[in-house]
């Protein structure tokens, strides 16, 4: 390995990370409060109003009965594919540059999943009955409909959520232990609970590594299945421009794509505001940049395929839907998406671009805007142009919807801010793995450094 980490001592890592947890500047609190306030104002208040008034608070209508809520749902599910999936792949492929960033990446997974789950609640008309979608014995002797792709969704997401939670938690146990040993008072109590009495014996390390790898292998297919299944919500319908076999890979690629972009954003933030400069380096941005390039090409290819099938089908419904997407009411959004997700990422071909932080940040944000647009278009354009022209309609999001959309980001940020104060946001022991062992034996006994 090369880069700054080599100049580091193990202790520096500990100090840095623990500092990031223990020492909290006013900026953090300002950030946290703002985020939380925004969450309340932009997310929860509008949502409660909607619960009271009905979905009519949103802009949906007949025939466009789905709207931004579902788009956000897919978007956040997509974002969730950044972390866990990526980190699993990289873990298995032993790409060591992953180690500094994967913790926060996995955290993203977790929180985007949580947000996505909440979006489902926001989306349905009677969330107070949502439990009926879960299979449990009841006096009505009613079971959910196991043929429904939506039910597949519920299953897939809950599984994925559980998987990722265990994964991130298990990965951080040694670090909890490390923090535990460096903190006093309630923190110490908390971390000694969370570290489950980790001692750092060889057996423990052995077991951890084994289980960790096992989970990694387990989660990869899971992650892929999740987004395939999400895509089936649409692909299994017979709506023109949704009823397509390409949808599963389309969604998976899209998911990883936006996820990776998401990681870039978060990396930048961590690097900037928690000065992890030495751990998150050009190297990471360089690699992520390459990844983005590949993914964008894949994504573009699938879009071309989609357009072609639409055009080649010759079916009035398909062509009309396609035509509407490309040149209809929402056309500007479509071309914005193409610009952001197909053209802009080509810049990643240049190393100079990949290794410069701010441009990468801009790109990553642009990509995620584009990806959100994609999800929105999938919902909006196809539903308003279906088989019976006399039933065509137009869907424009309402203020409540937009506010809730922004609110989700605030919610996500809030969760993430809390995370960085609880979890060591850089995996200490794995970063250490990337360093040569020090000349003399490490100072503290139980820092859980690998033998």
């Amino acid at each position: 390995m090369h880069g700054e980490p080599n100049q580091l001592k193990y202790t520096d890592i500990h100090n840095d990370v623990v500092r990031s947890i223990v020492e909290t500047g006013p900026n953090y609190y300002i950030a946290l409060v703002t985020a939380f306030a925004l969450t309340l104002i932009c997310f929860f208040f509008p949502w409660f109003y909607q619960l009271y008034y009905g979905i009519g608070a949103a802009g949906m209508n007949h025939p466009s009965v789905w709207g931004t809520y579902l788009a956000s749902f897919i978007f956040w599910i997509g974002l969730s594919h950044s972390g866990t999936l990526l980190s699993c792949v990289l873990h298995i492929t032993n790409s060591s540059w992953r180690k500094a960033m994967y913790r926060s990446a996995e955290a993203m997974t977790l929180f985007s999943l949580v947000v996505a789950a909440i979006m489902v609640m926001v989306h349905v008309g009677r969330p107070w009955f949502i439990h009926w979608a879960a299979p449990y014995p009841n006096q009505m002797e009613m079971w959910p409909n196991f043929r429904s792709p939506l039910l597949f969704d519920v299953m897939a997401i809950t599984t994925y959520l559980t998987g990722s939670t265990i994964f991130i938690y298990m990965g951080s146990i040694p670090d909890f232990a490390a923090v535990r040993d460096r903190t006093r008072g309630w923190r110490n109590t908390m971390y000694s609970l969370m570290s489950l009495g980790w001692r750092g014996t060889d057996t423990e390390w052995h077991r951890l590594h084994w289980a960790y790898t096992f989970l990694a292998v387990l989660i990869i297919p899971l992650a892929v299945s999740v987004h395939s299944i999400v895509s089936w919500d649409f692909a299994m319908s017979i709506v023109p421009a949704l009823h397509q076999t390409i949808f599963a890979p389309y969604f998976v690629v899209g998911a990883i794509y936006s996820g990776t972009a998401g990681i870039v954003t978060v990396m930048f933030v961590l690097r900037k505001f928690m000065d992890f400069g030495q751990y998150i380096t050009e190297l990471h941005f360089d690699n992520l940049g390459k990844l983005l390039l590949v993914l964008s090409l894949l994504w573009t290819y699938i879009n071309v395929v989609e357009v072609f099938t639409g055009f080649y089908s010759g079916a009035s419904g398909e062509t009309e839907a396609l035509n509407y997407r490309l040149f209809g009411f929402y056309a500007p959004l479509y071309w914005e998406m193409i610009a952001f997700c197909a053209i802009a990422p080509l810049l990643c071909a240049f190393k100079s671009f990949r290794t410069s932080f701010v441009p990468m940040l801009v790109l990553s944000i642009a990509i995620n805007i584009g990806m959100y647009t994609e999800r929105f278009l999938i919902v909006a354009t196809s539903l308003s142009r279906q088989y019976l022209p006399d039933a065509w309609g137009l869907y424009v999001p309402s203020a409540v919807e937009i506010s809730i959309l922004l609110g989700t980001f605030a919610l996500f940020t809030t969760l993430f801010l809390l995370f960085v104060k609880v979890f060591p946001s850089v995996s200490m022991y794995e970063v250490k793995e990337t360093m040569e062992s020090p000349k003399k034996s490490p100072p503290a006994a139980s820092e859980g450094s690998p033998a």
Partner: protein
């Protein structure tokens, strides 16, 4: 330095205890309210006139349908009109204070605002006609009304074998009755479902069968609307 989880857990015990107490409290509170405020399953609601089914259906063995005449020909069993009450009580027990109340209503030509005890949600379609004609005893769902002074929704928590009166009025026990009491305790979908699964309609009468219920009887639209 201590790595054990024990001390941490110890220090949390009190907090945990408080939490537990609070949660338990919620359930307790719910149940208390369930018991003390008007809940037809536990305490019968106060009626404008303390009418006793025990006296009428029990002691004097007046058949249910003498007053609830529409049960056999209409979805709703119907509440007897005031003049129906007066029909008897012109002669019977005219001096008792309760009957005086009735006759007051009658003289003022006002209806008696009975409080509804057996209440189904508005999205449920239940027809007394079909069930009565199938020979199902009123008590199957309404419980031993003839033993109740105050009418209340019947839940079979503690009382033993329910006496079931057939629709014609003569008393018989659960063995001989067309339909035995269902096992479900509460006035909810399961109650209907059990019965519909256990019974089949053979030339107009409900008969107990073991292979789950009759063809349309389990369709949601049988009872929902």
């Amino acid at each position: 330095m201590n790595v054990s989880i024990q001390p941490a857990l110890k220090s949390l015990q009190t907090a945990a205890l408080i939490a537990v107490v609070a949660v338990v409290g919620i359930f307790v509170g719910y149940f208390i309210d369930f018991l003390i405020t008007d809940n037809p399953e536990v305490s019968a609601p106060e009626q404008p006139i303390a009418f006793s089914h025990k006296i009428h259906a029990g002691d004097n063995e007046i058949p249910c349908q003498y007053c609830h005449t529409e049960a056999r020909r209409s979805p709703s069993a119907g509440v007897p009109s005031v003049n129906k009450c007066m029909g008897c009580h012109n002669e019977v027990a005219t001096e008792s204070p309760l009957i005086r109340q009735v006759s007051e209503y009658w003289e003022n030509k006002e209806p008696i605002p009975w409080v509804k005890v057996h209440d189904l949600p508005d999205f449920v379609h239940f027809t007394h006609k079909r069930h009565v004609q199938a020979g199902i005893a009123c008590q199957t769902c309404h419980g031993p009304v003839e033993t109740m002074d105050k009418i209340s929704v019947h839940s079979r928590n503690n009382d033993g074998p329910t006496l079931l009166a057939s629709t014609t009025g003569e008393i018989m026990n659960s063995e001989t009755s067309a339909v035995a009491a269902t096992q479900n305790d509460h006035w909810e979908m399961g109650l209907c479902l059990n019965c519909h699964k256990q019974h089949d309609v053979v030339d107009g009468k409900a008969v107990r069968v073991d292979d789950g219920g009759f063809d349309n009887g389990l369709d949601c639209w049988t009872c929902h609307k």
